[in-house]
């Protein structure tokens, strides 16, 4: 059997962000509560950004590091998103064009809330393992934004949004899956999946979200347990505490992961309270750091967490990462893989943390301007020319980077351009 996994991975965490505590104060919510929930910053999409631009901006650096021959072996391009722009035409078609990929390539989109990135990842893994096209690679791009127009329904819905708003982010993770898994070698066959129908959170109307946060938390925790129990059935001698040197979680917000880790350690690993806190610091916190800078990017959040571990962790020897993915509705999976110091070196070349540090910090007034303007680029917009000078500081902060942005929507067709 061939080796398989992530050959290269990059994150695009937006070009602008908002300080979450500043938002919480502005909305007159309880700041102490939000500190406990371990949220710091959230990426905010400008009107001339969308999941296509986020996806391209995550993937471009990966492709620029490949030879033409290697790039030509990308035979599958999967976009994973719940922020789709068309019910039929997948975002992969636009991304394929702007990345200049080989036309002998399957391209399509996957959807299952925040599980979508894992679905795409596993599809890529299985494509490579099948060896139907030896040497072929899959480019999997999980890309999501939160650009909500609060629906009519009165103050109750607005209140719900005020609690979801601090964690809602925007961004993308691009992963090249192939036979040379420098960055993350998947443990083949070590998968525990668990899903069922539950109405916890969803996007039943364009540009909005509905659901119950409590139900979603309960479902997340049930799945965290059940997915791991299934994994345990397939992998002899696995131990939640000792088999994985790091744990990566789908991270709606850090506090939720802290709670899930505590529950798993107590119930599955039978750990004592004095063991749980240091374990959280050693094995889980490294995976939270990037998530705390970007917010929840839905389909890609688990891989944002994984990239955080790879960049921030210690890999003096190869280490196994246990990964838990959850998508509302719902579907979940526990899987694992190995990371080495060589993989860390390769990933660090993309400078993910530096890119996050170079983003523009929005003031509350600038943020309010943006959300009031969300209606202009709502789902189904037929014609619009985008104003790149909307918040001048943001545009000028991108000047020396090669980035793709939306210029115009003309008869529903989206036209993009590069800034560099």
């Amino acid at each position: 059997m061939v080796s398989v996994g992530i050959e290269a991975m990059n994150v695009f965490g937006g070009i602008a962000y908002l300080d979450v505590l500043q938002l919480v104060r502005h909305r007159q919510l309880d700041t102490a509560r939000f500190e406990n929930l371990l949220m710091h910053e959230k990426a905010v999409a400008l009107p001339y950004e969308d999941p296509v631009t986020c996806g391209v901006n995550a993937a471009k650096p990966l492709l620029d590091a490949l030879t033409e021959a290697e790039k030509g072996r990308i035979e599958m391009l999967i976009t994973c998103s719940e922020s789709g722009i068309d019910f039929g035409k997948s975002m992969s078609t636009y991304i394929h064009h702007y990345l200049g990929l080989n036309r002998n390539c399957r391209m399509f989109e996957l959807k299952q809330a925040c599980y979508s990135g894992t679905a795409g990842f596993q599809m890529g893994i299985n494509f490579v393992l099948s060896q139907v096209s030896p040497g072929a690679k899959a480019l999997v791009i999980a890309s999501d934004i939160s650009r909500f127009i609060v629906p009519e329904g009165g103050s109750a819905l607005t209140e719900d949004w005020f609690y979801a708003e601090p964690s809602a982010g925007a961004g993308a993770v691009a992963m090249l899956i192939g036979e040379n898994p420098y960055v993350f070698q998947a443990d083949v066959g070590a998968n525990g999946y668990y899903g069922y129908e539950v109405m916890d959170t969803c996007r039943p109307v364009p540009d909005s979200e509905a659901g119950d946060a409590d139900l979603s938390l309960m479902s997340y925790l049930d799945c965290c347990e059940q997915a791991f129990l299934e994994y345990e059935k397939r992998v002899t001698g696995v131990d939640y505490q000792n088999s994985f040197q790091y744990l990566s979680f789908h991270t709606p917000f850090g506090g939720m992961v802290k709670g899930a880790h505590r529950t798993m350690m107590r119930k599955i690993a039978q750990a004592t309270p004095t063991e749980i806190e240091p374990d959280f610091e050693n094995r889980v916190i490294p995976g939270l750091r990037y998530c705390q800078r970007v917010g929840n990017i839905m389909g890609g959040t688990l891989f944002l967490s994984l990239s955080s571990i790879i960049d921030q962790g210690r890999f003096d020897s190869p280490k196994r990462i246990g990964c838990f993915s959850y998508g509302s509705g719902c579907c979940s999976e526990f899987f694992s893989g190995i990371v080495t110091s060589r993989g860390q070196e390769r990933q660090r070349l993309f400078g993910i943390e530096r890119q996050l540090n170079e983003r523009y910090q929005l003031s509350m007034d600038e943020y309010e301007v943006l959300i009031r303007g969300n209606d202009a680029v709502k789902f189904g917009t037929r014609n619009i020319k985008l104003d790149h000078e909307l918040i001048p500081g943001v545009w000028s902060s991108c000047k020396d980077k090669q980035r793709l942005f939306l210029e115009e929507i003309r008869e529903f067709h989206r036209e993009y351009g590069w800034i560099s």
């Binding site: 406990n36 409590d214 309960m218 049930d222 506090g255 802290k258 709670g259 529950t263």
Partner: protein, 85 residues
């Protein structure tokens, strides 16, 4: 185990998770949210109660209670079903 016992268990678990409530006189109409429990606290209280009851069912099966009284009612009902099966 009857509803009074379950109620006492919920109260005890709530105090374990939020120690500042140790002198609170719990009522059926109390809402965990109003007592200062965030979503993670609430889920822990419910989970620890279910563990104490050896009630091994999904957490989502007890979702929907609007206050402690309703939580006790649903736990009692699930316990009866669990014991009968």
């Amino acid at each position: 185990m009857n509803k009074t016992d379950i109620f006492a268990l919920v109260a005890r678990q709530t105090c374990d998770v939020i120690p500042s409530l140790k002198d609170h006189v719990f009522q059926r109409s109390d809402r965990l949210k109003d007592l200062g429990a965030n979503s993670i606290d609430r889920s822990e209280i419910i989970e620890m109660t279910m563990e104490s009851l050896s009630l091994n069912i999904p957490r989502v099966a007890v979702f929907g209670a609007r206050n402690i009284g309703e939580l006790v009612d649903v736990l009692h009902e699930k316990l009866l079903i669990d014991r009968a099966s």
